[in-house]
């Protein structure tokens, strides 16, 4: 189905008593969100490349040993910082994608369970 809408609030009250709280989620929305986060990650990478190149070029044009050294150091520190941010975007994107798959699978599981209840449970007894 196009839009997988999973109401685990229903699961909480009727099926899965161990869950502490109910929640809802539209799995396809998470999948789209994963792509959005991946887009931000690419943007982060692009900015980072330019920033580091700019700082390095500054160091080459400075003509002052102390400043050149500081700018080269800043380029390295920027690289580490952008790398952390870049990885965090990737983490968010991957987590959303994984959650989307998990919830889609759970949705299918619920559908199977409901079908089983229909056959063997109250619905089956009434109509058996």
């Amino acid at each position: 189905m196009d839009v997988q809408y999973l109401s685990l609030t229903f699961l909480h009250s009727e099926q899965v008593g161990r869950m502490s709280q109910g929640f809802t989620v539209k799995a396809s929305g998470l999948d789209t969100g994963s792509q959005d986060m991946a887009g931000l990650q690419e943007r982060c990478q692009l900015i980072a490349e330019y920033a580091m190149a700019t700082l390095t070029a500054m160091a080459g044009s400075a003509g002052h040993a102390g400043l050149a050294s500081a700018l080269n150091g800043a380029s390295g520190k920027s690289r580490r910082w952008y790398t952390g941010a870049w990885a965090a975007y990737g983490h968010a994107s991957q987590s959303l994608s994984a959650s989307s798959k998990t919830y889609s699978g759970a949705d299918q599981g619920v559908a199977n369970q409901v079908s089983s209840v229909g056959r063997d449970g109250l619905f089956g007894k009434l109509h058996g």
Partner: protein, 421 residues
């Protein structure tokens, strides 16, 4: 013996331009942070996502967005510090040039008048004072750059994104020493979870090669073996062969440049010029279009790809040391490598000539040195485009200097274009 003072090194115009770029990049980073927070909210809302998972994700995205936004200030402050220093550099270079011109005149005349000597003495004192101011400014700028770049590391704080980043063992290191993630064959440790180990942009700052990756490793995440003899390469962590079992590996970001196509087994020893990209290089990011083909761009370099028509501010690095910039080519136009200059100083004959000797002649030297590391443009003609300030006296000085330079460099065509006087 020359009575002149050494002219302070550095390129103030380039520094000003780069400071402007850094300022813009800081703003772009700030905007990215804003987009991150907005996107995080939008994802939760559009997914009708509620519960603990939604709360957790929202907190992560909010913290990430805030941290990224926070970088705008440090980058802006670094840009301001460099801009201020560039102003001192301009002044110091001009004052030293002015003094040197007077000193040269005195030497030539042999018996100069008292007024000229007094002028020279005043100019000398002004020059030395300007050089001292410049050194002080450089020290101040260095301190600002250091403290502002240090402040980047604390921007994410102890929030969810900051904690996650801190928990990644490879992030925050300059390079990965062998063994950090185990030797080839070891299982991936649980704390790394198979995440990407490090990311090196196509324009690395002294990237270091850790280990060549065995050719039979499989696993799909390795781009190519990295030869040990090529500097500035990408860092790719060895992936153990028994990686299976559902470990997730983040896709490696696109890595452009010659290393990708390096085929060691065929006997190809890699690019002939160290890290310089060779014709046919494709890739992603700056300098390439959406299909991976080279496209004109601003501020790409010869480690990313060879130059193409329409490039601006093309950086040419030493083929064996990417930390050394030979020069930047202002414009690639009609097969010509063009240096753009504007003249804004005073225009006595001595100052015109001094300016030409400082701004034009060294640039031509650099351009001709850089050509050999610009595949396809090794024999390209050079051009000087004086966009502004081309008064008749300056034109005469430039023409004379270029003619002299051409005599010293037979076979290197140089054209000069004049802009507004």
């Amino acid at each position: 013996m020359s009575a002149g003072l050494p002219v302070p090194g550095g390129d103030p115009a380039q520094l000003q331009s780069l400071a402007d770029e850094l300022e813009v990049l800081g703003i772009e980073t700030g905007n990215l942070g804003g987009s991150t927070r907005q996107t995080g909210t939008s994802i939760v809302e559009s997914s009708d996502w509620t519960g603990d998972g939604a709360t957790s994700f929202s907190g992560f995205a909010e913290n990430l967005g805030q941290g990224v936004s926070g970088a705008e200030g440090p980058f802006s402050n670094m840009a301001s510090a460099v801009r201020e220093y560039a102003g001192y550099l301009t002044t110091a270079q001009q004052k030293v040039q002015a003094y040197n011109s007077l000193a040269e005149t005195i030497q030539t005349n042999g018996s100069p008048g008292g007024a000229l000597l007094a002028d020279a003495e005043n100019a000398g004192q002004a020059a030395m004072s300007a050089v001292q101011d410049l050194n002080d400014a450089g020290t101040r700028a260095a301190a600002t750059v250091t403290s502002e770049s240090d402040s980047l590391q604390g921007l994410f704080g102890s929030g969810p994104a900051g904690s996650w980043i801190s928990s990644q063992p490879a992030l925050g290191t300059d390079f990965l020493p062998p063994g950090v993630f185990g030797q080839p064959g070891d299982p991936i440790p649980p704390e790394s979870g198979g995440d990407i180990i490090d990311w090196i942009p196509p324009d690395p700052v002294g990237g270091k090669i850790i280990d060549p990756v065995p050719p039979d490793i499989g696993g799909g995440s390795i781009i190519d073996p990295v030869p040990p003899d090529i500097g500035g390469g990408s860092i790719i962590d060895p992936v153990p062969p028994d990686i299976g079992g559902g470990a997730e590996i983040y896709p490696l970001p696109p890595v452009t440049g010659p290393l990708i196509n390096y085929d060691r087994e065929s006997g190809d020893e890699g690019p002939a010029q160290g890290g310089v990209a060779q014709p046919g290089t494709t890739g992603t990011g700056p300098g390439f279009d959406s299909e991976g083909q080279p496209t004109p761009d601003d501020n790409v370099n010869n480690y990313i790809r060879p130059p193409v028509e329409g490039d601006t501010n093309y950086q040419v690095f030493d083929p064996n040391d990417k930390g050394i910039t030979i020069t930047d080519i202002d414009k690639v136009n009609n097969g010509t490598l063009i240096e753009e200059k504007s003249f804004t100083g005073a225009n006595t004959q001595a100052q015109n000539e001094a300016w030409v000797q400082r701004q034009i002649v060294p640039k031509l030297d650099k351009y001709v040195e850089a050509r050999q590391y610009m595949p396809g443009y090794e024999n390209a003609p050079l051009g000087v485009d004086l966009t502004e300030g081309a008064n008749p006296q300056l034109q005469q000085a430039v023409t004379q200097a270029v003619d002299n330079w051409k005599q010293a460099h037979p076979g290197v065509p140089v054209t000069v274009q004049w802009g507004n006087p």
